[in-house]
Amino acid sequence: MTNRERRNLRTGLLFILPWILGFAMFIAYPLGASVYFSLCDYSVLKPPVYVGSANYEELATDPVFWQSMGNTFFFAAIFLPLATALAIALALLLNTGVRGMTIYRTIFFLPSLTPMVALGILWMWMLNGEYGVVNHALNYLLRPFGVEAPTWLQSTTWAKPAIVLMSLWGVGYAVVIYLAALQDVPVQLYEAADLDGARWSSKIWHITLPLLSPAIFFNVVMGLITALQIFALPYVLTNGAGGPGRSTTFYTMYLYNCAFRYLRMGYACAMAWILFLIILGLTLIIHRASRRHVFYAGG
């Protein structure tokens, strides 16, 4: 290394020093510490006591842990495909050249700006079993067939689907990304398809979706991470209890309760690392699958 290179390196390091310090203090240290704490009996109020893999072993036999994991995967498995399909469908509709399109786009994006807590309280009333607007409409349609609308948040069966429904309210961000990606689809391809006499469904299947695939890939990965970490909405709706009968105790809610309600920070750290590994594994799987199905123009 020449003198000049060494000097450049030093100056460069100096410039990024504030970031390095911030990273070390607020990200690297807590990350490292949480690995150590996950191997400890740690209550926050007392110094950690090393217990080896005891926390991980206990997790394997903790029924609430498995139930919260099941609830979370159930939620993600329903939410992710629905959110993806809905966001693409909305983006396609909002990409047609109808008059006043910018107004429609704004309207569909607006719910994404609603704070989670306000959203929770609003939906709590909308899904109220007896007076809610949703059940009012559903009962109008279903009662002639002798079927009653579900009681949503009071039912162990319907509480999770209710949360899926509420979460779908926030697909606006994904719609914006799809809309941007749709602008990149070359018009010539549609023109060529028109000349060949392709129907709209064929155009979507053979042109739009392949060219949207990088955006779909991005949204699926981000959606998966968000879905597996769902917290604020069920926490507000159930006051942190995850009821009825633990049907809405999601992974991060149980993690939070372990850390701050039961004062078992070490156990919560172990849970956090397991969730990290699950998300990492799933992301890698999606990434691998994307090699076949994601089409990068020019790539």
């Binding site: 504030p18 079993g129 162990t156 009825p244 009968g245 633990r246 309760n257 004062l263």
Partner: protein, 458 residues
Amino acid sequence: MRALQVLGLENSAYAGRALLAAGVALLLCGCQILIPQPQDEYVNGRIRITYWEKWTGFEGDAIKQVVNRFNEMQDRIYVDLITMSQIDQKALIAIAGGDPPDLVGLWSSGLPQFAEKRAVMPLAPFMERAGMRKEDFIQVFIDLNCYRGELYGLPTTPATMALHWNKRMFREAGLDPDRPPRTLAELDEMAARLTKYDAQGHLIQVGFSPGEPGWWPWAWGFWFGGELSNDNEITFDSPENLAAFRWIQSYTKRYGAAEMRRFQSGLSTNFASPQNAFFSEKVAMELQGVWTANFIHQYAPNLEWAAAPFPSAVPGMENVTIAECDCICIPVGTRHPDEAFEFMKFLCSQEGSEMLNMAQQKFTPLKKVSPAFIKNHPNEYIQLFIDLASSPHACHTPDLSIWFEYLDEIAAAFDLVRFGLDTPEHAVSQVQQRASVMWKRAEASIERREQAEGKATP
């Protein structure tokens, strides 16, 4: 580089040094901000005591009034009252971080956790120095502030629960509005007469429901003579607790699980609102606390109501109630524990306690009460709640450090039984089994920590 040239720092070596100096200065500034500085210890020459409390609204005004009175009556200590939400979690972080307030107002149910982790100070030496006696307080509120026999907090605002009933609905159902049920069987019978259905067979009004308001799912066993723990053992699968869960499910069977869920889902979860099920006359009888009268005055001033002890299932066992309280503690690591206790002493004196509890519309945890307090109290049933607190059947949360885990387990089982998704027998045995595992783990943890501490301080 142009900016550097302007500053006369065209030489890169100088520029590097200048940048380094600026970086170090920034870092020092950052440290100044990041590392908490102790607040001013003195206010106008008086020792400052920071006091974190959870109350807002009229309850917040009540404690402010007491703090102001204390600050006026002496010139050595200044109490700085700070109101906050989620006080237990914030206190936890502050204590762990070594910068706690001098006083903190906790809930009695959370006290064992703090005491077990030795995050709050034992109060016996302070009490002795100040000449205060535990015997001056109603016993159950001292019990709520003890962990394994040692006192860690003092009660500030106590509460007991009683049956509240709607006199108008009683009259309408052909019942004597001034005669509450005296046994649990009688309550069930009255509840049946007070329950109404619409033409389609949907519930529109219920006499009683164990799930409304559903705040004490863990406590129903008390009315059957049950306990949650005994001599450091979990006793949830006792025949009494099982009988309580069977009784809870009897209501599900009576109303039908789906119908009960539908009715329940229409009830507001917001207690302090006119939509409250009891205030809006959807439920005729409820187990509720001493605070209810105040909210009725606010949200349903025309409601005709009365209160009496909630009847028990065991013949001869009368005045069963749940007792709980807010408490005040001195966190470990405070700078002025003695001065902090001086304020506690005033707060728990007859003057301070009556001032606080009159304004909060509760009763005082002290045995001695001035006649004026009872006479002027806005809750006409206040004497009932005081009597309930002194009852030998005033029950409370157990002093277990795993209480919140145990409670969440009971709450989940309660939901399943209430919605007819589990049998009482299975639910009770599940709670017993899981809570016993938690308890063994917690005891092992205490032992392990004591060993580690023993090694650290030979």
